[in-house]
Amino acid sequence: MSKVEPFQAHHFDDVEQQHEASWLGMWVFLATEVMFFGGMFAGYFVYRHWYLQAFAAASNHLDVLLGGINTAVLICSSFTVALAVHSAETDRRKPLIAFLLLTIVLGLAFLGIKFYEYHTKFEEHLVPGSSFSFEASLARPAEIFFSFYFAMTGMHALHMIIGIGLMTALIFQARRGRFSSFYYTPVELTGLYWHFVDIVWIFLFPLLYLLGRHL
């Protein structure tokens, strides 16, 4: 058996096996996430097919500019998290912490803009429920559109909050010098998770904000 590193768990033969196991575990987890969001996407597609006109009309009430800015913010955060992983890989602690911080800031910026959007929807009576108001003939299906809008973007935001929590924990660990070019699996896997959350948004944005506009 090879030399046992301090971060190697007792039940693995070597560091490489441990790393491969963690890596595969994360990908399997992301597969479950795809199915989780997939359920909502399936529902969205069914109703979009049924209520094309109402979905287009409701979609026009979303703010493309803010959605677009948020998309840019998230893509930037994917870049910064990739740089964080690269810093860990090349054994540079300060840039690692800085890029993680930057990613968190971008994540918070996204959530802030999202919250502002939710707030506007609330003021415009577009939150499903008793106070929902919309052009009468399309009100019911438009309410379904907004149900999906809030369920899908809400679930996405929840994933971002979890990601921000994970990166905060990584910063504390990085400060204690836990990561080096020999061992940075947690940074790598959190990065993977963050990319996944971004990709979900890359699907959500056109589906919710853009598709209706061409009709």
Binding site: H10, H11, F12, L24, V28, P128, A151
Partner: protein, 546 residues
């Protein structure tokens, strides 16, 4: 080896003591015990609801409970048995204990995640028990909308949250198994040397990780609709209740294979051991497990033949449902072929395995009746369906589970159970089971609908037979509970390999040491090499001290 020697040697049970050493353990073998205790508890809770159902159905009138209570009883019976007993039973208990041991690993890939999955399971169970204690839920275990999301006045949200939470324990278990089987196999343990138990658990894990998230999000949407009146499934709000059924069965039909695939894995081990032969057509049986997992994802619409889905969809789902029968039939034929010219012994685990084959065949063939569009319209929502799925789930899964528990009991505890009592219990369960559920095929065929607490008097004879069978079945289930507990203290000491079985788990002492093996085994032979001596299948079998 005598008793005092077993007690002196350090193993996973005596390495440390106290409640903390169990509640904070990351040893897969101890976590298996945590699961064993909890699923046993849930089994008897679910059994209690079943008892009340069968008592009510003794007479045509509603003289024990009223309709509302009856609705809650069958709902809580279904929810408890499916989500808290059948789904975790074999994977979380036997799988947890055996997956690392069978592949020659020291633990699952993620031991802390494994413990977390048990806590998540218990948390979900607590929500569901709370819902039951607060007055129960009456939607049926299927939670069909809009009844569940709008009209039911019972504790739907609490129950749904319980199932949602428990789902994550399934996901984590499946994830752990997949990674462990891919990455933790001992040197020489190639994919086609793996025991079929492992293949079955691999297939089950795929369903765990791909199916469970879908039921999770579906139940979230039901809860959102119920709490915030989001119109997603309620037709009055423009939603589509059939969409709910699609999403629900997308998980819940594959969930049937979650319940039966692991039992098939157990049966493969038992049949090989007690007929002293290699499993006939090993690789075909292995691929049949994967085939069931894959095709099982494409058949959900056969639950919805009368739900207003299009006739064309119905025809395609019917065809696909016939297809999924093929890998199941392959397994049954291959087990039978394994028995052929084997040197068969009828120990208790083998009785359960043989019971499984017979009852699963009946359950599977009646499944083909139900997959046929025309017949399904006739027997839909009757006791025929109830009998069919109990033949699969109780006749199949529970038989496999009990067979497995008996087979590996000496490994888990270091003690043997009393063989005579165990054979008697297996026989009582087989008789009780058939007396309970066979009359229900007839009841359903002549038109008794499911989920009613009253029925026309002409159905009474068959219902009395069924209730009598259930009483026998209850005795059959209480017997193993009693003698297995008894054997913990008074059972004879088992030794390494009481069955003369092949497989890495039998080459380590019983109970195994915390790290499972005295040294990492190097595997030199495929599973079920019953024509070879145990020491020829790996470097471990060459005993260090005999």
């Amino acid at each position: 080896m005598n008793v005092s020697e077993v007690e002196r040697r350090e193993h996973y049970l005596n390495v440390n003591y106290g409640i903390r050493s169990w509640l904070l353990t990351t040893d897969h073998k101890r976590i298996a015990w945590l699961y064993l205790l909890s699923v046993t508890l849930f089994f008897f809770i679910g059994g209690f609801f079943a008892t009340l159902i069968r008592l009510e159905l003794l007479t045509p009138q509603g003289d024990l409970v009223q309709a509302e209570t009856y609705n809650k009883l069958f709902t809580m019976h279904g929810v408890t048995m499916i989500f808290f007993f059948l789904i975790p039973s074999i994977p979380a208990v036997l799988g947890n204990f055996l997956v690392p041991m069978m592949i020659g690993a020291r633990d699952l890939a993620f031991p802390r995640l494994n413990l977390a999955s048990w806590y998540i399971f218990i948390l979900g169970g607590a929500f569901t028990v709370m819902a039951a204690a607060a007055g129960g839920v009456d939607t049926g275990w299927t939670f069909y909308t809009p009844y569940s999301s709008i009209y039911s006045n019972t504790h739907v949200v609490l129950t749904v949250v319980g199932i949602f939470v428990t789902g994550f324990s399934s996901i984590l278990t499946g994830l752990n198994f997949i990674v462990t089987i891919h990455k933790m196999r001992a040197p020489g343990m190639t994919w086609f040397r793996l025991p079929l138990f492992i293949w079955a658990h691999y297939a089950t894990s795929i369903i765990f990780v791909l199916g469970t998230p879908v039921i999770a999000i579906t139940l979230v949407l039901v809860a959102l609709e119920r709490i915030f009146r989001l119109g997603i499934f309620d037709p009055a709000l423009g939603g589509d209740p059939v969409l709910f059924q699609h999403l629900f069965w997308f998980y819940s039909h594959p969930a049937v294979y979650i319940m039966v695939l692991p039992a098939m894995g157990v049966v493969s081990e038992l049949i090989a051991c007690f007929s002293r032969k290699r499993v006939f057509g090993y690789s075909v049986v292995a691929f049949a497990s994967l085939g069931i997992a894959v095709i099982g994802f494409l058949v959900w619409g056969h639950h919805m033949f009368v739900s207003g889905q299009s006739v064309h969809a119905g025809m395609i789902f019917s065809l696909l449902s016939f297809l999924v029968a093929i890998p199941s039939a392959i397994k049954v034929f291959n087990w039978t072929a394994t028995l052929y010219k084997g040197s068969i012994s009828y120990d208790a685990p083998m009785l359960y395995a043989l019971g499984f084959i017979g009852l699963f065949t009946i359950g599977g063939l009646t499944g083909l009746f139900l997959a046929t569009l025309g017949i399904d319209v006739h027997v839909h929502d009757t006791y025929f369906v109830i009998a069919h799925f109990h033949y699969i789930m109780v006749g199949g899964s529970v038989m496999g589970y009990l067979g497995g528990i008996h087979f590996w009991w000496p490994k888990m505890t270091g003690r043997r159970y009393p063989e005579g009592w165990a054979r008697l219990a297996a026989l009582i369960i087989f008789i009780g089971f058939n007396l309970t559920f066979f009359p229900q095929f007839v009841l359903g065929y002549i038109g008794m609908p499911r989920r009613y607490h009253v029925y026309p008097p002409e159905f009474q004879v068959l219902n009395v037979m069924s209730t009598a069978g259930a009483s026998i079945l209850a005795v059959g289930y209480l017997l193993p509970l009693t003698y297995l507990i008894w054997s913990l203290r008074y059972g004879t000491v088992a030794g390494r390999n009481p069955w003369g079985a092949r497989g890495l788990e039998w080459e380590t002492p019983s109970p195994p040491p915390t790290e499972n093996f005295e040294r990492t085994p190097i595997v030199t032979e495929g599973a079920y090499a019953y024509e070879k001596a145990p020491e020829e299948i790996s470097t471990l079998g060459r005993p260090a001290h005999v």
